[in-house]
Symmetry: D4
Subunit: 256 residues, 8 copies
């Protein structure tokens, strides 16, 4: 009975109760024990992928290497092999690999991807654009996340608004995208410019890169929220993962 | 030669130059004069709809009734009849109607829609959800925008997190949506909860409704940007129009 | 079947399904229709009082008089007569009274209380203390809320820290309280001083009263959050209702 | 005459003066010397436990190991053996232990508890709930504080709003609590959700855990202050001790 | 001896003292009485134009019509006829005109210019560019100030970044400017884009126009301060006058 | 027994208890009833003038005319005739005068002074300096307060840092002051300049006058707090009364 | 001619010019070279002590040990031996001592005082009060500064508002002070309480000590600026030196 | 065909297309490949110097030494030898030198300048003024940038507003400048004072130097933006490079 999923489980369970297969008391217990494992420090959710439709992710920041390996092991026992582990150090990645969990580590975005043997096939067309070299860690977090979730990704870096011709000469690329992720620090103007040129959804990611009155990314964040271009929505400062995740959902939309 | 569009115009024009049909100097002039009308106070863009793929919108806030009528008249001469006019008063709407431009005015979101004779057919499935009665103006700006752009919209109001059962009993509705717009003021927690239940893109709209430490919508904005639910992106405070516009783009995505 | 409450409803319903009294499909519908009325602009919750253990409250701010009367009428049909309506004008109160709903209106805190015929008996001992005359609207919102919820309230106004002897001479009163609500604007120091003298829970309410660097209540809010006195928790700026509500819950705690 | 307490000392002393047992000048001196020891860097308060009704606490942050040992020694001479020492390093704990003061050190919340030989018996029922693994230090500061003050504590970790079913399946636990402490970083939405489900006082603790636009805990703090759920009050960012202390006061309320 | 100017006055005066023409005590008095008139509510500076090289300006905001007329009259007696009066209402302008001081009032920027009979000849080439119709008041304050100070001004309105082709088609105009003033609200991205295209100094003026997270112009201000384009400096929010003044100084620079 | 003052009352009272003149219980009652009158909305403090050494003040902002007259009447019965009433309208002043309380109203700082028949003699030398005409309301609140408290005041208005010679020519006046109050809005630089020239205490008063990035006086406040000149302390934004009060205390210091 | 002081130098110099003793050109040069030494990285002011009436101070923060020794050496050559050097490390103090400049270093406030052989005699009575042990560095910076400037200082530490009796028992000490410096972090309430009890000027110093919503001292700063007690002015966060300096000026006021 | 510049390239290219020298498709490719080199991590712009008229700059912050050498090498191949590299460590400078790229490193502003063999001749007159020793890093970034761009620079350090005579004695120097850069931390008042004395454009640079309520440079930034002196514009906090760049553009303005 390990196949209870959020989408249909209530009705299924109610029918089983009706059929006398489970008592009401058992039903409540089943729901409690079947849907996640309680590791004490974490409750590992077995059915999130079913409910949310994606490969799993562990936010590595603030977890010990031991906790991460514990969660990964539990997931693997329940069949989840393809897992993103965000914001971990090389040391943590090595610790995971030494725990017999094969992992592919990307040092610039500090992102690990555990290997399932078979990668997801890639579909569609997501652009990750950025204004400068220094935003590359956030860009790669977005791009690798989107790739891990099974999307084709085109990288378009260092096309900032202060050198507009570099962007305009890639106009054809922009126009063919299904989704565009725009990463920018400091002034954060790039999403507005791209949003005015493109006709697909634009996900803007402010970064904390900069100095002075950027106030840890606040300047870019406010600029993006106030964008006059009408197709732009925004995620948290430095949240490359979130942008890649949302872009994947949009890119993989089924037709009407 | 009024059919120059951003997508193909550069190549077209270059070919005409090559063919000697237009001189280089003429080409530059053509681009300048054919793509918009200069009204002095505004440059009306004739081809934005082509480039951005939507019906037109005029941001009414900060424009005089005369300016709005001027822009609307110019648009209509160039074939745009289906125009949203946001944040205008009843008085301005009456002024527009008295200028022989038929307009449908919605007082709660202060939104006017000029009538083209034929409405766009509605497709797909966008939900607009909110936590309280007082956010209704922003909700309706989002919902009416999405409808004007040709989308089916389901309204799910007053399902706030402090009364969770009202939301959970609509779980089936949530799960069937293609896009969900979540509007919330004060604490702004609703998008996180819905983002954890749904598997489609969620557009979060913070509102300025509240008092005390909501600081004009800042509390809801920060809460939404920090959402732990992975599919949530955010637009500006009170920006119902923007949310409706983005949701429309996503809802109308073609399949791969 | 109108007596479904959150606390026991799941088990009850499951048992009825088991007994064949209701089908699983009916169960879901019952839950949806029995627990609240959908007025369009609001979903009136019939069982909140059961689930939260208090008389009902309507936040009046941002609702039209018609909406408030609509909600009140629906509540009364479902048996809730004792309702607080916060932040309404005298005009709205008159409108309610003219709709044949008897209401007692307090102009200083802009608070209305609809009359059920019999008031709740008052128990225990809640103090509402404040530093100055100008915070009286918030004080009275707290005090009247607590009284409406069935608590004895002692008002101790104008005992600010700049005239400490006025406070110290009421030390005996402070020491006998079960809960103390402290309302303060500007510097917000009073809760720390009272928190150091009393041995019961203290609820601090910052107010927006002041000028200059009080920034709409931010100064008092930060001061209270940083209180060195160990028994102080804080509610939103100007949130007299919330403080009265929490104080009532604590005052009415059953013994171990 | 070491038994002067704030609650009755003024009257006692006045009676002794009247009886000629102490002169007015002596009375003032007695008050000054009997109620605390002046260590130069600190004034150790002998009667705070009497006046505030709890075991003692030393805020370790910003004090040298020598100062902490000095204060602890002075307290022990005056009969206080059961002392919480917050925010100290393992090194400081070792230094205390090496000074012949038995101490129990908890590394995650960086909290030490000196041992009195006999622990307080535990009563009642306090829940500490949190949304994620990374808030555990603050959770444990709250939980251990509450336990040291003589309360039963149930830990309910990793029940965040983005995976609502994990929370809902523990509804029965929530409903039986006398007080609930809810710890949350980032978006800070969990207290609102729990506040809507429970009918006991809820103490919300924002944490500084997060990144980007969480601004050191500001996002969670503002979200919690703006909570629509009516039983929620808030303490300072990361203030697990304060939450545990207040929860203890409420849990141990005597019946009316 | 009314021709003491800051540039040479110290040396002149010292020489006169040496020559015995004035006593040291007289020198101090002369400096005090010759350089300004004390009207009580204002000290009218007779030599600011000499010292700062421009026509005079009165900041009208916060002054009564009577005070403004008093200052204007005093200036005119001392030879200053060409005076800008900023941020005054139509009523104040009428009051000035009725006091026999000819004034030219511009209602959009709420700016008055008193007439000296002969206007300054206009030189050079200043562009005032803006992204939207609603920033026009600030644009016109800048443009009219620059014209009053004797500069040619080209207005380039509604060339926002979300419709980039409107800007690019005016590239030749931009490249020929000596100074460019860029006025923008909301996201404030336009100065960065223009700063990347132009090779002359760019003065950026954030405006308070917008809603939501623009926080009274803060979003545009931060965006402009963080501009990646290297020739951009910034003035206060809505400070059209300041921008026009600085642009005039730069435009009128003498060659090396 | 109405002459109990904070300074000596404890010892006096203790001696009376010892002498059997009052019982301990009476002593507590005496303290409670003799030191202030409880008007319900306010506790009027009879001995504050003794304890704080100044004429009384009522903060008018946020009090009704009736409350102010109530407090004034109570004060007058207890011998306080010389009372400042800050931030009241002309209407309130008229209401006070019509209640047979003679009052001198100053419309610019919205300040009333009730007349005691004999004014305090004025001593010493306080300067009130400001940078512009528009700060005059705050300047006059400071100056009139200082005069009412018995100090000589020299007004030095419109000597802002952008026209430094106007200030330097009054250097002799500055150097002879015992205390200088410096009032400035916008940039708030004047206190630093004066602080560097003078050798007496300087009280800086930021004002909320300005626009754009002054954020309600924040810019001036921060500038003044960060002053490099070593003798400058700061009061709240627009707090002319506070500055006048402190300056009076310093001006009237007795010699060592 | 090294005795030019700001107070009389202009008149002196003018008289010498008149007498032909110096030419106007020489006068300007004299002023430039006699009043300070230009060390390149600093302009050492020889007459500041005359003009400002205090011993000298060097702000050590941000200067290299070599620069500090250079400035000290230059001062000593010009007769200034008694110099405070703020915010320097033990290493810098050792470097100064090794450069043959005798210095007394206080590690808690990181403050050095160079020794002149004879200390200033101490006069008057300044209290430095604080609420907790952790503010001691700022307290000592204030106290040592005041002592170095020739004032008697009484330290009154750990008398925070959460333990009011510790403060009240020192009321006699408070009342006898000529100036009180109150240092407080976190909530910053202590200056208000002391300001209400004392009748002398109170200088409030917010500190950055604390955590969570203290935001680097902002909470204490705002609380102090909003103080209801009328004799309180405020200096920058952690600015113990400034408070000691101002207190010294006030303490040493001559009688009228 | 490597001489395509932004100013004339469109017309040139169009003419070549017309002449059949290049096909339209080739034209688009040429534009894409000729104007910059794509290094993957950066797009090196070959013609920025032509389009922007200055020597090149690389923002070193956030780039690896390898990336910087890669960009420098590419530039040198395309003829750019005179390059500023900002915000790099000594280590990075050594790495560059060891890669056979001659570089002149300035440790105080952490600025490197690669050597082209021949320096630009210096013209005009730019002043860099500052209030204190600790702002020297930002000052030197501005001064060295301006010198590298071919301008004469006069340094005027340590002339802060708290010692005004040091500034006034350099009045003649100030008056002769063509542009003045004013660098100031803490209070940021110096640009206002200098702006009132000078008649040339003033570029204000706030610095993050300070402590307490300077909030990372915010105090100086706000002060400068609110300057009452009319010729002052502002760049980002600590942006010495930007100020030097803008000052160079203004200093090198051609006459009308």
């Amino acid at each position: 009975m390990s196949n209870i999923t959020a989408k249909e489980d209530i009705l299924n369970l109610l029918n089983k109760i009706k059929a006398g297969e489970v008592s009401p008391e058992q039903a409540v217990n089943l729901l409690r024990t079947e849907t996640f494992s309680d590791l004490g420090y974490a409750k590992v959710d077995h059915h999130r992928s079913l409910r949310q439709g994606v490969c799993e992710v562990i936010f590595g920041q603030g977890k010990t290497p031991e906790q991460i390996v514990g969660i990964l092991s539990n997931m693997r026992k329940n069949g989840s092999h393809n897992v993103l582990v965000t914001r971990i150090s090389q040391q943590t990645a090595d610790f995971i690999a030494n725990s017999n969990i094969p992992i592919n580590y990307h040092p610039i975005p500090q992102l690990g991807i555990t290997l399932s043997g078979k990668e997801l096939p890639r579909v569609g067309n997501i652009i990750v654009a950025s204004g400068g070299t220094s935003d590359m860690a956030v860009c790669e977090e977005a791009a690798l996340t989107a790739e891990a979730l099974g999307n084709n990704v085109t990288r378009l870096y260092d096309v900032g608004v202060a050198g507009l011709h570099r962007l305009l000469l890639r106009l054809d690329t922009l126009i063919e995208a299904r989704v565009i992720i725009v990463v920018a620090g400091m002034e954060g103007a790039l999403p507005s410019v791209i949003g005015g040129l493109a006709s697909c959804p634009v996900i803007a990611v402010p970064t904390s890169i900069g100095y002075g009155a950027n106030f840890g990314g606040l300047s870019a964040l406010l600029c993006m929220l106030n964008s006059c271009a009408s197709g732009v929505s925004v995620v948290n400062i430095d949240n490359g993962f979130g942008a890649g995740f949302i872009a994947s959902r949009i890119n993989q939309m089924k037709g009407l």
